[in-house]
């Protein structure tokens, strides 16, 4: 695993390499080099099994983080290739020619985050939601609670509590709210 990381990181200028477990590595790569690197890993390093394509919305940095998680069936290791793309102009090169199932992931990401993958088959079709007219539903700034309250009918009498304050009120009703800080919350 170590030698692989060294080999690849000089070739593709990897950043923030994190070895999470013995068999799991995450690393950032430049957007332009990403598909190239995925192809290289598949063809030359034996990472032939594509496990997962995912996306994280780092809204405070204005970035989407795409993840291509590859698996090597020989060495039983996993390599997560991460790409940061701009949140306002979210376009990424399509990888549908590499594995047959990738167009599904890209179709889902297009719908859930609004990331475009030009050239990917059926990328504009609906995936899970139908007739959606709001902003892409997995973005952080989409407030699902507000949407649900506006769209659906709440039943009267249903209440939600914050568990921490509710338990404190129920268990220690006489204690003032400005009680000592919990010791685990350091």
């Amino acid at each position: 695993m170590k030698s692989l990381i060294e080999r690849v990181s000089t070739k593709y200028n990897l950043q923030e390499v994190v070895q999470q477990r013995d068999n799991l590595v995450f690393a950032y790569v430049d957007k332009e080099l990403a598909i190239d690197m995925v192809t290289y890993m598949r063809d030359y390093e034996g990472y032939a099994h594509f496990t997962l394509m995912s996306c994280v919305d780092w809204i405070e940095d204005g970035k989407f983080q795409l993840l291509y998680l590859l698996n090597n069936p020989e060495t039983k290791t996993e390599f997560g290739i991460k790409v940061a793309i701009d949140r306002d102009n979210a376009v990424m090169q399509s990888a549908h020619h590499l594995w047959e199932q990738i167009w599904t992931y890209q179709r889902e990401l297009k719908e859930a985050f609004g990331i475009d993958f030009p050239g990917s088959p059926r990328v504009d079709e609906d995936f899970v939601v139908e007739g959606w007219d709001d902003m892409p539903h997995m973005r952080r700034d989409f407030d699902t609670n507000k949407y649900a309250e506006e769209t659906y009918f709440m039943r009267e009498g249903r209440k939600s509590y914050d568990p921490a304050t509710y338990m404190r009120e129920k268990l220690y009703p006489k204690q003032p709210v400005t009680a000592k800080k919990n010791k685990d919350e350091q």
């Binding site: 999470q20 068999n23 032939a48 993840l67 047959e100 599904t104 899970v128 139908e130 997995m138």
Partner: protein
């Protein structure tokens, strides 16, 4: 087979273009469009297959998912780590315990508390996971014959599955959604007499295994329909990312329990079954062997597991639990194949992103659409069940 005379001339069918479209004029009366599902007894769960038919043969198939979309991944982002539990286990109803393990393991690993989980809890987790696999297989193996309208096996199988659910109820207090595996360990020890009652049920299941073998695998009609139907060639395994029993039936031995052993699987003696043909018959056969193996594994676990011990490690206060920034991917072998969870935290008391990777995501969309082309409409249901498609894990 004898049906060579009845094969239509497929050379005149239109073929699909690269961008997934098909040049079919529906008003030309040559083709019909039929929806299989969502309201159809022949689909697994709640999904739909939009089929363009030329005669009885499928020219093009498109899967439509999302009928079970609940937005789990969004909801979990709004909930505390511990509140995420009851939400996340409902992601896939077929084997809910797998979700429990994944989310417990991810949070433990990211907060660096993996070694606080006591040994007894690891054994109990293994037991719960194997019991979940067993109840899934008890539905799945006869269910394959059920797709060809051999319903008797299904009835026996579901009855025995109910017995396993009874044991779950005894162990965890619930029938379907158990919430047994929690961060730091499990919720309870084995009740007294559990092993004896479990052994009784396993004896019944042994009986069933023998009978189902006679009923299904020695049945000429089942063979004539399942052999050579819906074949997954070996080259497809990496190309499509096929995992689990579907890959093993095509001769590629891929099992997370062996490849990346988790929990106590390294101490157990088992060998994942394989077959070579990759058709419906071999997939069912592999699953039947796995049923035998799972029964054996549960016996091994109950024999090797210690009688008593700590079941829960020391964990932070659940209401004020914060996990430092990090990310991980945890996976396990569910009855349907590699089942994983990508978990990202950002230092707050709520997860940043949770992404579930279900095996059906590949099997039910890319593989199924490819495989259904040129099959008879009568085989669609059998193909879907043999791939073990489970819609809730596709759309979450």
């Amino acid at each position: 087979m004898s049906n060579k005379f009845f094969q239509p001339d497929r050379s005149k069918y239109p073929s699909m273009k690269d961008d997934g479209t098909l040049d079919v004029d529906l008003s030309s009366q040559k083709y019909t469009k039929i929806w299989l599902g969502p309201n159809h007894p022949g689909v697994t769960g709640n999904m739909a297959v939009e089929m363009t038919l030329g005669g009885d043969e499928i020219v093009q198939a498109k899967t439509h998912v999302g009928y079970l979309h609940r937005g789990f991944e969004k909801l979990i982002e709004r909930r505390l780590f511990v509140q995420g539990f009851p939400t996340s286990i409902r992601m896939c109803v077929a084997e809910p315990d797998t979700n429990e393990y994944l989310i417990a393991r991810s949070t433990e690993e990211l907060s660096g508390l993996t070694d606080r989980v006591p040994e007894m809890a690891e054994w109990l987790r293994t037991l719960a996971l194997e019991m979940a696999r067993l109840q899934g297989l008890l539905r799945g193996v006869p269910g394959q014959a059920g797709t060809y309208s051999l319903g008797i096996g299904v009835q026996w199988g579901v009855y025995l599955r109910d017995l396993i659910l009874d044991r779950f109820e005894e162990l965890t207090g619930a029938r379907v959604y158990h919430m047994y595996i929690i961060p730091g360990g499990v919720r309870g020890l084995l009740p007294s007499g559990f092993k004896r009652r479990m052994e009784d049920n396993l004896t019944d299941i042994d009986d069933f295994i023998v009978r189902i073998r006679k009923l299904i695998f020695h049945n000429s009609v089942f063979k004539s329909r399942a052999v050579g139907s819906a074949v997954i060639p070996k080259e497809w395994i990496d190309k499509f990312g096929i995992v689990g029993t579907n890959a093993r039936a095509s001769g590629v031995k891929r099992d997370v329990r062996k490849d990346n052993p988790y929990l106590k699987y390294s101490e157990l003696d088992f060998d994942p079954p394989t077959a070579t043909d990759g058709d419906v018959y071999s997939r069912t056969w592999v699953r039947w062997q796995e049923l035998v193996q799972t029964v054996d594994l549960i016996r091994q676990i109950m024999a090797k597991m210690p009688e008593k011990g700590d079941i829960r490690g020391d964990m932070p206060n659940a209401l004020h639990w914060k996990i430092p920034k990090g990310e991980t991917y945890v996976k396990l072998e569910s009855g349907r194949g590699e089942y994983g969870m990508y978990y990202v935290t950002d230092g707050s008391s709520k997860p940043r992103r949770v992404n579930l990777r279900g095996p059906s995501y590949t099997h039910a969309i890319a593989v199924l659409e490819k495989m259904l082309i040129n099959t008879n409409i009568a085989d669609v249901h059998a193909t879907m069940v043999s791939l073990q498609t489970c819609p809730p894990e596709i759309e979450r």
